[in-house]
């Protein structure tokens, strides 16, 4: 929380006004609404409203079989689809006790990290617009995201709704030139990260706008249940990839990026550094990638699971993306619950924003990197 300047004695009567930011405001990153109570330019209260994008994705998943649910994961977390799919298929695999072949696991890791990269590029671009760079950061971020998205399209046949992971492995084999294409993309991304770093991090006004703004302490961040880069910026080294390794994250070497100050700048810069770590991970994965099967030998046409419940969580670009799955037997979930990282991160918004300026609210919201589809589901 930023320290508000001292309040002067008012000689005449003043009144706080309400400003309705959203759901049709250009910088709320989707249909999100916050009602700001402002005293001049200072924010005295914030009330966030979510739910405009609620489509009942969880309930819908209960009406369809396990394979069909994969598509719905894409639609909740549309900037990190592979990470969302992964949580879901991991939950199904654990229920059905399926063994995933080694090659499929490495490819999953590569795709998830690439998706983290593309998601962070999207964040860097959109955040530039929030801070007020007229489109330049946005275009730069999108340029690099586009390259990654093209690769995804070559692999899965779709730009956004991949539905490529399957319980047990992958839908089909990756193209022959997969490895060279990934290396090309990595080269591009490294260059793009350097450029965005130069454009934004080195800018004095950018530093002035982000440093010391929207501070949240480690304790508060934990209490609100934040995760991902938002939590790590406050200095909590929590990363599910390292703490509870899934896939083969225990076999690769990477750093968990933490910040010191818990402000907007740490959340921003943490993502830039995290993207570089992702590149490191992908390179290690590429070296371990060997030919082999991508689905288990004995995969039934219609997947049925025994009764039981399971909770899987993965480190998505925005934090912990968890799937709680209850099965009563049969080919569809009895209950599916998505633990949304963005929703929890968004809870901390009020604490961060109060006492700041109107312009800070936009920057702080941007630094949380929310995807409203995931928040509302």
């Amino acid at each position: 929380m930023t320290q508000p300047p001292p309040v002067l004695e008012n000689e005449f009567e003043t009144e706080d006004i309400f400003v309705n930011m959203g759901p049709q405001h250009p910088s709320t990153h989707g249909v999100f609404r916050m009602v700001l109570t402002i005293d001049g330019e200072l924010i005295t209260d914030v009330t966030p409203y979510v739910g405009y994008m609620h489509r009942g994705a969880e309930k819908l998943c209960e009406t369809m079989d396990y394979r069909q649910g994969i598509g719905y994961m894409d639609r909740t977390e549309y900037l990190a689809n592979f990470n969302a799919e992964l949580s879901y298929v991991m939950a199904v695999e654990r229920l059905a006790e399926l063994e995933v072949p080694e090659r499929a696991t490495w490819i999953r890791m590569i795709l998830c990290e690439l998706n983290r990269l593309s998601s962070h590029f999207m964040f860097l671009g959109a955040f530039g617009t929030d801070v007020g760079v007229f489109g330049t950061a946005f275009v730069y971020g999108f340029r690099n995201r586009e390259v990654i998205q093209d690769l995804f399209e070559e692999i899965t046949g779709d730009r956004l709704m991949f539905a490529y992971f399957r319980a047990g492995g992958l839908a089909w084999e990756v193209p022959d030139n997969f490895e060279t294409r990934v290396r090309e993309v990595l080269k591009d991304s490294r260059e793009g990260l350097r450029e965005l770093d130069g454009l934004m991090t080195q800018n004095e006004i950018f530093r002035a706008r982000t440093e010391g703004v929207g501070v949240i302490t480690a304790e508060d961040a934990i209490d609100w249940g934040t995760s991902g880069p938002t939590l790590r910026a406050s200095g909590v080294p929590m990363d599910i990839r390292r703490d509870e390794p899934y896939l083969f994250y225990d076999q690769v070497d990477f750093d968990v990026i933490t910040g010191d100050h818990g402000d907007v700048f740490d959340r921003f810069y943490g993502r830039i550094r995290e993207a570089s770590e992702s590149i490191k991970i992908i390179e290690q994965c590429l070296e371990r990638l060997e030919p082999g099967p991508i689905v288990p030998d004995r995969l039934p046409r219609m997947l049925r699971t025994p009764a039981g419940e399971v909770y899987t969580r993965t480190e998505a670009p925005r934090g912990e993306y968890g799937i709680y799955l209850v099965s009563k037997g049969g080919n569809r979930p009895h209950r599916l619950k998505i633990r949304s990282a963005c929703l929890s991160n968004l809870q901390a918004l009020r604490d961060m924003t109060i006492g700041g300026y109107v312009a800070d609210a936009v920057v702080i919201l941007g630094s949380l990197d929310i995807v409203l589809c995931e928040v509302d589901r």
Binding site: G132, R209, E219, G262, V358
Partner: protein, 380 residues
């Protein structure tokens, strides 16, 4: 100096004035459309895009198409708006900008009117538009518009002072036949035949440039119209022809201040070709210098993030204003003791270094590690 237009003598003074003003209005409209097209193209290049490409060859008719579209749109007024103030606000923004052109020298002896207080007149008249902004914001019955208008008022007043003071600093050192000091833009330009004033007064130019960006609400000082914060500021409720007039005024303001900057600091039509080359070259020189300034404004726009209101105000009152006062004081001392012009340059360079250091060290907030809450769960 009332020579008839194009060498025609004995023209009625009123007819002459009307014709000149008409020429200015036509020139302005064309220039503004060109500027908008140029800005879109230049920004497109900066952002690895092509900019407008569909309307005409290289999209050259894009501004025309936009203008036609805007004229054809419905002129909406919100129900809660104050009708008179809402509709009059446009003119308070639009008219002063055009009036400012009266005193600007385009080439030797090419201006609408020669005013002895030309510089004073330009800065005085071009600051009226703040009234229009506040009117627009207040009458729109919209909180974003209101926020934007208040921001515009605060910003406009804060940066008016450094802008004027930096111009005064230059006008003090102008040496004329009658001694030093002149506010006549024509005289100021003519005096720069050998060396433009940016050489002697770089600090004044720096202050002028920053204040100009702020006066025009351009990035990084575009907080009154910040798209991501106040969604367009005072103009959020305007549409059609009214909105396009605000837009026209914005770019006309950019052009006029660039012309003034080119005239006062970059030597206008006089440097480096002198008086004898004729109006064509002089017009080209003036336009080229103004366009150079405008290009740099576009460049800044695509690179810089927006400042926050407190940083913006602080920068004006704590940095630019004291600096411009100091500049005037030093200039005055130099004039009183009749020191050589090199001292002007030296003092300005010192000031520039100080300004750089302040910007480099001063704006950034000091970051503090958030204090740990007592009794909180300890973390790994």
């Amino acid at each position: 100096m009332n020579v008839g237009l194009f060498g025609i003598e004995n023209v009625n003074i009123w007819v002459d004035a009307v014709i000149r003003l008409q020429l200015i209005v036509i020139l302005m409209t064309v220039v503004v459309m060109g500027l908008i097209y140029g800005e879109r193209k230049i920004i497109g290049r900066f952002q690895r895009r092509l900019g407008p490409m569909r309307t005409g060859p290289f999209g050259i008719l894009q501004s025309l198409a936009d203008a036609l579209k805007l004229v054809g749109k419905e002129d909406l007024r919100p129900r809660g708006a104050d009708p008179w103030v809402f509709e009059l606000a446009v003119y308070f923004v639009f008219v002063p900008v055009f009036m400012a052109f009266v005193a600007v020298p385009f080439a030797f002896d090419w201006n609408v009117r020669v005013l002895e207080l030309g510089l004073f007149y330009v800065v005085a008249i071009s600051s009226i538009n703040i009234v229009g902004w506040v009117m627009a914001g207040w009458a729109s019955d919209n909180r974003y518009a209101m926020l934007g208008a208040l921001r515009a008022a605060a910003q406009g007043i804060s940066y008016e002072l450094p802008l004027i003071l930096s111009l005064i600093a230059v006008s003090m050192v102008v040496s004329t036949d009658a001694g030093r000091g002149s506010l006549d833009l024509g005289v100021i330009v003519a005096e720069q035949g050998h060396i433009p004033y940016i050489v002697w007064q770089p600090l004044a130019f720096a202050i002028f440039y920053v204040a100009m960006l702020a006066e025009l609400n351009r990035t990084p000082f575009d907080i009154p119209v910040g798209e991501s914060e106040v969604v367009g500021g005072p103009f959020v409720e305007y549409s059609g022809i009214r909105w396009s007039m605000f837009f026209l005024a914005e770019y006309a303001g950019l052009f006029i201040l660039s012309l003034v900057g080119a005239a006062v600091f970059l030597g206008g039509w006089a440097w480096p070709l002198g008086e004898e080359v004729g109006p064509v070259w002089q017009l080209l020189l003036t336009a080229g210098k103004a366009l150079l300034l405008i290009f740099s404004v576009f460049w800044v726009r695509v690179t810089m993030p927006r400042m926050r209101i407190d940083q913006l105000m602080g920068f004006s009152w704590k940095v630019l204003l004291p600096m411009s006062f100091a500049l005037i004081l030093v200039n005055g001392l130099i004039l009183v003791y009749d020191w050589p012009d090199v001292v002007l340059l030296a003092s300005n360079v010192v000031g520039l270094i100080a300004l750089y250091l302040i910007i480099d060290r001063g704006i950034t907030r000091r970051r503090v590690r958030p204090p740990a809450r007592a009794g909180a769960a300890t973390t790994a």
